[in-house]
């Protein structure tokens, strides 16, 4: 009996570009008989996936292939256009830590708030305030407003809340360790405990080395379809081989262009160098200037933006901690 059963799932979504976003215009269009119904783009096509209890699954695929969308369907954030998804067990979504915090509330209020949003009950969260604060090492800050924390502290709190109770199914979207070196070790330990404790884990990651070493099974999604489902090492190897050099360059240029033309504030593009370990680099738009963020000492080692061979999702707004290199 699988814990997650995705059966013939197809998802179509309205594209944001087609939005008129304007009632006046739609009314005028209808009056002038020029109105056409918005079209929908197919994001996932006929996806079948059975996950057994305790399996560790890594999802790989290029940018925009539908990986995160599949996670959203499994979490129940999106509903499939056709097909069905049955989930048996409590899901903990660990998607972009910190998205649900309120800047003005105190840490204690935020712990309850964020915890309830994640799916815990209010009374459960109230009884967990202390253990969360203790793990995040933020006990002394408990009555301060959330915005007084550094971004590293924010991430620590997010991680501590989301992982305070061991969920049956853990969904990870590229958030495995946060904060400084010592906290990162704690995160890795805690995640490792989930790993050892027979939890079912689904992780989207571009860290192919991690997928190879820590997952049993890899799912490779391309253009909304599953193109590979099998042993992790084999999947990672096939995926890496498919990333031809030209492909990588095109993908990188397209994302830089998107960063350049994006109307909303700062934009972060996360990419991987061609280092065999696949380390991450960040390109940040700050006003009209571009910066490379050095999170792992790769810029100092002589890597530049053009060494980035594979580009992960563009993240809008969230700047990871690190040092800016001009």
């Amino acid at each position: 009996m699988p814990v997650i059963d995705v059966e013939n799932v197809t998802l179509r979504r309205r594209t944001q570009e087609e939005l008129s976003y304007d009632l006046k215009r739609v009314v005028f269009a209808i009056v002038e008989n020029k109105y056409r119904a918005p079209t929908k783009r197919r994001v996932l096509h006929n996806v079948n996936l059975k996950v057994e209890r305790g399996e560790k699954i890594g999802i790989i695929g290029s940018n925009g292939s539908g990986k995160s969308t599949l996670l959203k369907l499994i979490c129940g954030i999106l509903q499939p256009t056709s097909g069905r998804i049955v989930v048996d067990g409590r899901i903990a979504p660990l998607i972009e830590l910190g998205a649900g915090f309120d800047l003005d509330l105190s840490l204690i209020d935020n712990i309850v708030y964020y915890g309830v949003l994640l799916g815990f009950t209010r009374s459960e969260m109230k009884s967990r305030i202390d253990s969360v604060l203790e793990f995040a090492e933020l006990y002394d800050h408990r009555n301060e407003p959330f915005k007084s924390l550094s971004s590293g502290m924010m991430a620590r709190l997010g991680f501590a809340i989301a992982t305070d109770i061991r969920p049956e199914i853990l969904i990870l979207d590229e958030v495995l360790s946060v904060g400084d070196e010592s906290f990162r070790r704690k995160c890795t330990e805690r995640i490792q405990r989930f790993w050892d404790a027979h939890s079912t884990i689904i992780v989207v990651s571009h860290d192919l080395a991690f997928i190879r070493n820590s997952c049993d099974r890899a799912i490779w999604i391309e253009k909304g379809e599953i193109v590979f489902d099998g042993p992790a090492a084999e999947g990672a190897a096939k995926y890496l081989a498919s990333l031809g050099k030209e492909n990588r360059a095109r993908e990188r240029d397209a994302l830089i262009e998107r960063a350049r033309t994006h109307p909303r504030g700062e934009l972060v593009v996360r990419g991987l160098t061609d280092d065999p370990e696949g380390h991450k680099m960040y390109l940040i738009r700050d006003g009209r200037k571009f910066w490379i963020l050095d999170t792992e000492p790769y810029v100092r080692a002589g890597y530049t933006w053009s060494d980035v061979v594979h580009i992960d999702e563009a993240i809008i707004g969230a700047i990871p901690e690190g040092e800016l290199v001009g």
Binding site: R13, L23, Q79, R84, V86, I91, E96, A99
Partner: protein
């Protein structure tokens, strides 16, 4: 944590979302966040919400008070005018504040909705609840005191809750409607301002209803807030026993608006997640 034991997603979503304890928890935390950030921990802040109807009552009374409280209106008493003005403003302020705040609530929580599974309606409903709390601690005690002074009857004070409940239903209906439309059309706030203005001016807040030409008056009755306001005033200001007919009218208006708003919301929410 009840992100579901055995959930079939092809099951109609809104039934799954009706798992009440979870829904109540969500509304509680979102509403309390709204109140906490609005008043930044100051208890007195809640009473600030009373100041708006009080100030406006003063302004209206100074400008229109003498003219409108001349016989035959308000029995020629400026006190009656002031009380009518205040009760009317409490009602319309609750409505306009709630629905205007609710309008942006779904779109404003878009990034959250894209990351965590939350029933969309939690956001407008939480705004309604935050405003109910404000009403309960702010204007309601004042209304009850006024009612007890004029009617000397606790029955009137209790009956007052019925038209106020209708007011909540009307406000919830409009909140769902406006917040849902705003997901699709980003120019709704401008249009909604006009809607609020029309509802405001057609409610006899600062003028006696008798000054409206009798040809127009039946149309004004279509404004669902008028029924609520009439009943609130009859119960709190007339001193007479609560008029059941007026209360029924208020409740029916409330139910109609709520049902229309909720049905509209349920029909259009399928595409919400693609647009927020």
């Amino acid at each position: 944590m009840n992100l579901t034991a055995r959930r079939a997603i092809d099951f109609p979503r809104f039934i799954a979302d009706l798992r009440l304890p979870r829904y109540i928890d969500l509304v509680t935390i979102v509403a309390s966040r709204t109140l906490k950030t609005r008043y930044r921990g100051s208890v007195l802040g809640v009473y600030w919400s009373l100041s708006l109807p009080l100030i406006m009552t003063a302004v209206y009374s100074l400008i229109f008070g003498t003219a409108f409280s001349a016989n035959p209106y308000y029995h020629g008493s400026i006190t009656n005018y002031i009380l009518a003005c205040f009760t009317g403003l409490v009602v319309i302020n609750f409505f306009s504040a709630t629905t205007t705040q609710a309008l942006t609530s779904i779109v404003g929580s878009g990034s959250l909705l894209n990351k965590i599974r939350i029933p969309v309606s939690v956001f407008p409903i939480s705004i309604v609840c935050a405003n109910i709390f404000q009403l309960l601690v702010g204007a309601l005690p004042v209304l009850i005191i006024v009612t007890l002074v004029t009617s000397h009857s606790p029955i009137n004070a209790i009956a007052l809750l019925i038209p106020l409940f209708s007011l909540i239903m009307v406000s919830t209906g409009f909140s769902l409607l406006a917040s849902g439309l705003f997901v699709y059309f980003r120019d709704v706030p401008h249009l909604y301002e006009v809607v609020v203005f029309i509802l405001w001016i057609t409610s006899p807040i600062f003028y006696p209803p008798d000054v409206v030409p009798s040809v127009i008056r039946p149309y004004i009755e279509l404004n669902p807030i008028v029924a609520v306001m009439n009943s609130v005033r009859q119960i709190s200001l007339s001193g007479a026993f609560p008029n059941l007919h007026m209360m029924l009218l208020a409740v029916v208006s409330g139910i109609i608006v709520l049902v229309v708003g909720a049905l509209f919301f349920l029909t259009i929410k399928a595409d919400f997640m693609d647009l927020v």
